[in-house]
């Protein structure tokens, strides 16, 4: 198991991520969401970001060395809510 940290760099007021891990964990972090995950096993992360129109945000996760890897790099639409899913393997 390795610790994987998820972060959303944004001015957005709120964001959430959840990881599929049997019964999934769902976190609403102030700075980062931290999960203990199995190395080499594929996972699915679902994210929700609420903010203002035009806010850019970058969803990242750390690898085994602690380096940030981008999972979603986009801009909030005029609706102010972005959500989606992304597969990754720690």
């Amino acid at each position: 198991m390795i610790a994987v940290e998820f972060k959303v760099s944004t001015k957005a007021a709120r964001w959430w991520v959840a990881i599929e891990d049997g019964d999934y964990d769902f976190q609403k972090p102030a700075t980062a969401a931290r999960f203990e995950l199995q190395e080499g096993q594929p996972y699915l992360v679902v994210y929700y970001v609420v903010g203002n129109d035009g806010d850019a945000f970058l969803l990242t996760r750390t690898d085994a060395t602690g380096k940030d890897i981008a999972l979603a790099d986009r801009v909030l639409g005029q609706s102010g809510l972005a959500y989606g899913q992304q597969e990754f393997t720690p």
């Binding site: 769902f26 986009r74 909030l76 639409g77 609706s79 102010g80 809510l81 972005a82 899913q85 992304q86």
Partner: protein
Amino acid sequence: MKRSVCLWFGLATMAILSGESSVCAQVVPELPPEIAAKLGQMPGVTAAVGDAESGLTPPQGEAQITFGPDSRAVLSLSDTFSNGLQWQVVFSSPLASENGAVELQTLDRLAAGTKAQFGLDYVLLDPKPGSFADLTEACKSVKAALADKKLEDVPSHCDDRLYGFAYRHGVSRDVLKRVTAAYFGNAYLKKLGVDVAASYDDYDFLDETLAKSSGRRTSAEAGIRASISRVIDSWSLIASLKRQRAYRNDESSLSQICVPIDGTAASRCAEAYLAPPRRIDDTVSSLEWRWQRTDDVAIAIHASYSQKDHVTGVSIPLYFFSNAARTLRGGVKFNWRNDTHDTQTVFFVSSGFDLL
């Protein structure tokens, strides 16, 4: 009581998941109705699901007319910002209400006069997905549906941009429903809000010299409310508490006044109030449950309790028809109160519109 121009300002008519007095869903025309209705005015979500790239859900309006013993006109305006704040302004006026009929519905003493209300809510989305298997399958379904259409520039990622694209290119409602269920299957919408309202009405009475007198009285109320809604099942539970200061004719002063008819031994008699309207302070608490069964059918059960009169009023509106575009909706409302056991049936029609 005298009424001339009838512009009534009443309780907010909002979407089923967010409003105060109506379960008429304010369907944004460009969104699939089932999604707009389920998600109501959740900040950002309505537009994001159906139309992520084409713009913010515009400010909403709804006009409603009710027919029956409590005929009235209601105009409501509202908008939701992405920071979670939602405002609403409601104007209403009785059109031809029978005496006392207006209070039957919600024990709202201000509803007897022309009323304006302003409400401000903080909306908090708690967006939990249904299941991860559903997430994967929902995205696959959307991609498969789009592949059948052989479109260009299809977004590659499984996110709201893809789903908005799918909606705009006519992917079936069943497929989009799966998206809603996958992303918001365990989502709750929580709201906490305040509102203030004022209404005025004119009263006729006879003064000490039995001269005809009239006066306008302004009633006011302030309240708080909280609600929780489960997005995917389209039900809401709403609790509110209001402090009201209202005016009513002093029924104890109602008397028959007779004056002789000149040149005869007969008299002409009429009933009149011999005192100015009296002030009534009351606290009204209410609990409401709403459920939107289908795109067209919704029901609510609204119970109110007056602490001053120890009276409970119950109102059950049924929304059961809409036109094809779902811009026009209507239904019937049954009202009852436990002190007089009076019942009331009113019919209503409402129409939603965008302000921009």
